[in-house]
Amino acid sequence: MSFISYLINGISLGSVYAIIALGYTMVYGIAKMLNFAHGDVIMIGAYVALTSMTGMGLPPAAAVLAAVVFCTALGMLIERVAYKPLRNAASPLAVLITAIGVSYLLQNTALLFFGANTKTFASVVPIPPLTLAGGELTISGETIMTIAACIIIMIGLTLFVKKTKAGQAMLAVSEDKGAAQLMGINVNGTIALTFAIGSALAAIAGVLLCSAYPTLTPYTGAMPGIKAFVAAVFGGIGSIPGAMVGGILLGIIEIFGKAYISSQMADAIVFGVLIVVLLVRPAGIFGKNIQEKV
């Protein structure tokens, strides 16, 4: 039974990674940049939800909504101020280093506002735990909620990209920015929209993550953020199903690593996966290999 319970925990954690990885993979696919600050948007989202619940006494649903709205605005602001001016910079490192700076800025702003102390996050999930197999297997409400949210987001996003004009514009921009512009697509607007969606997903991921693991510090987002990037690479960067599969696989690997190998080495195992994937199949599970041409 412990195996199944580890597996379910792994899928639950993996679902959070998948939601974060979706944000990474969409931004990477379209803006061709690694948004290092994505993990910290998660943390900000969780703080906003926490503050609106405990500080302003809003009901959980409203708190989640507040977090989503705040993070969407934050994501667009970051894109506008820090990333857009560097879009045509001579060195590809410029925007990457700026993103690291933004990540650092968010962490330290949160540190100033909320302090370094660990805050306890009250779960926003109203679902009671599910008991199966005569009490031997308990699935918490958070787990059910997380997995459900992940599936809904995944389906919604796939439909959005396939069926709507804005989604098609995203695909076009990720394929070829110049050609998309010539076809009359508003490239800057599409990139801003991508950041908005990614950040909204980050807020949801933050709330879910902190409901399942109820501690919150300014550094909460950094590690899941990096792991979610590993998941995105694992699944093939730029691919929506890839982010989902990569995230869930990574979550399972992490939980199994913690349970069966060593709890201190779990992070090292996750990063080891990244190195192996990049060596064996650099494009990831669902990725396409693109030859660089002169």
Binding site: A82, L93, L96, T98, I100, L105, I275, L278, E292
Partner: protein, 354 residues
């Protein structure tokens, strides 16, 4: 014409060396005359380590054109391997100078070997991937060091990854590496003078590498890999050269750092992601590819928050803002245009100075 170009390089290098020596003399005078607080004096040795780290990271970021976020990991390797050596040898080699020399070699070589080991898979990647893999590597190193237990008794070395008890040592055994508690009692062999000498040696290595044939090959790869490859430059070899030299120098910084502390532990603060970012801030503020700038930035950003006590709470915030503003100012096409239009009298060089 060729002679003149040589002279210019020699002159620039000379100024860099001179800068370090002048700073050394000024600091020594301040220490002698007693006008430097003990807090500041305590910062001098770490400062030497930071300067070396900044110079070595600039070799990777500025000259090779790849972003390494695992520099603290190489530093960690150098620190722990050398501290391990020094602690084992403290009775065998009584002379502090000789012991430190060997510790230095061991730290540099171990970090360099790790650089090659990591470099083989990593340098096939570029840009974002390379950054994230080096970051992952740094975290893995920190994790591994934290679960390592090594002890020594009459029967030789014992190794465990669980705890100190499971080493199964004789009663006279000594624990050398104690997992998360790290290495305690490393001899305090590094001094400010040694640090400055090592900075000069680092500068000598890096500046000579940059201005050699190999250095030009490395910069050619940075500017256009495909073009460099097509004129017959061995991309892997030169990338590896820059990366491993950079790693070895980070190891040297680790050796200095370790031999200044009574207890060496691998925490996020000293060998984690934050450290790598801090070094990156030095490099960016000093100017990517500008070695002299890295030195000055490392000194200013280390000492400034200590001098202005009120600012120390905001230190990290300032670092973050410095990073963003400098990148936007230096690299945004609009900012470059603006600078050309309004600040033409300052004669900006838009490209990196190399």
């Amino acid at each position: 014409m060729k002679m003149k170009a040589m002279n210019k390089t020699t002159k620039t290098n000379f100024i860099t060396y001179l800068l370090v020596i002048v700073i050394y003399i000024v600091v020594q005078t301040l220490v002698m005359s007693g006008s430097m607080s003990s807090l500041m004096q305590g910062l001098l040795v770490p400062l030497c380590a930071y300067v070396i780290l900044a110079v070595s990271l600039n070799l990777t970021v500025g000259i090779l054109g790849e972003l390494s976020l695992g520099h603290a990991g190489f530093m960690c390797v150098g620190a722990f391997s050398s501290a391990f050596f020094s602690k084992c040898m403290v009775d065998v080699i009584p002379s502090a100078g000789l012991r430190f020399f060997f510790a230095l070699l061991i730290g540099a070589v171990t970090a360099g070997v790790f650089g090659i080991l990591i470099g083989i898979p990593v340098l096939r990647l570029k840009g974002d991937y390379l950054a994230i893999v080096t970051l992952a590597f740094g975290e893995i190193i920190k994790n591994i060091v934290n679960i390592m237990f090594i002890g020594k008794d009459a029967n030789g070395f014992h190794f465990s990854t669980k705890d100190a008890v499971s080493l199964g040592m004789e009663p006279d055994g000594v624990i050398i590496v104690n997992g998360p508690q790290g290495i305690t009692g490393t001899p305090k062999d590094s001094t400010f003078t040694i640090g400055v000498i090592l900075i000069l040696i680092t500068l000598f290595i890096v500046l000579n590498l940059i201005h050699s044939r190999s250095g030009r090959a490395i910069m050619a790869i940075r500017d256009n890999r495909i073009a460099a490859e097509s004129v017959g430059i061995n991309v892997t070899k030169y990338k590896m050269m820059a990366f491993s030299v950079s790693a070895a120098l980070a190891g040297v910084a680790g050796v200095i750092y370790a031999h200044n502390l009574a207890t060496l532990t691998a925490q996020p603060k000293n060998f984690g992601y934050n450290m790598s970012i801090m070094i990156l801030v030095f490099v960016v503020l000093g100017g990517i590819g500008n070695i002299r700038g890295s030195i000055i930035a490392a000194i200013v950003l280390t000492l400034l928050p200590e001098l202005l006590r009120g600012l120390s709470d905001y230190r990290m915030l300032i670092y973050a803002i410095v990073l963003i503003v400098m990148m936007l100012y230096n690299w945004s096409p609009k900012a470059i245009q603006w600078r050309k239009k309004y600040l033409y009298f300052l004669k900006f060089k838009v490209e990196e100075e190399v």
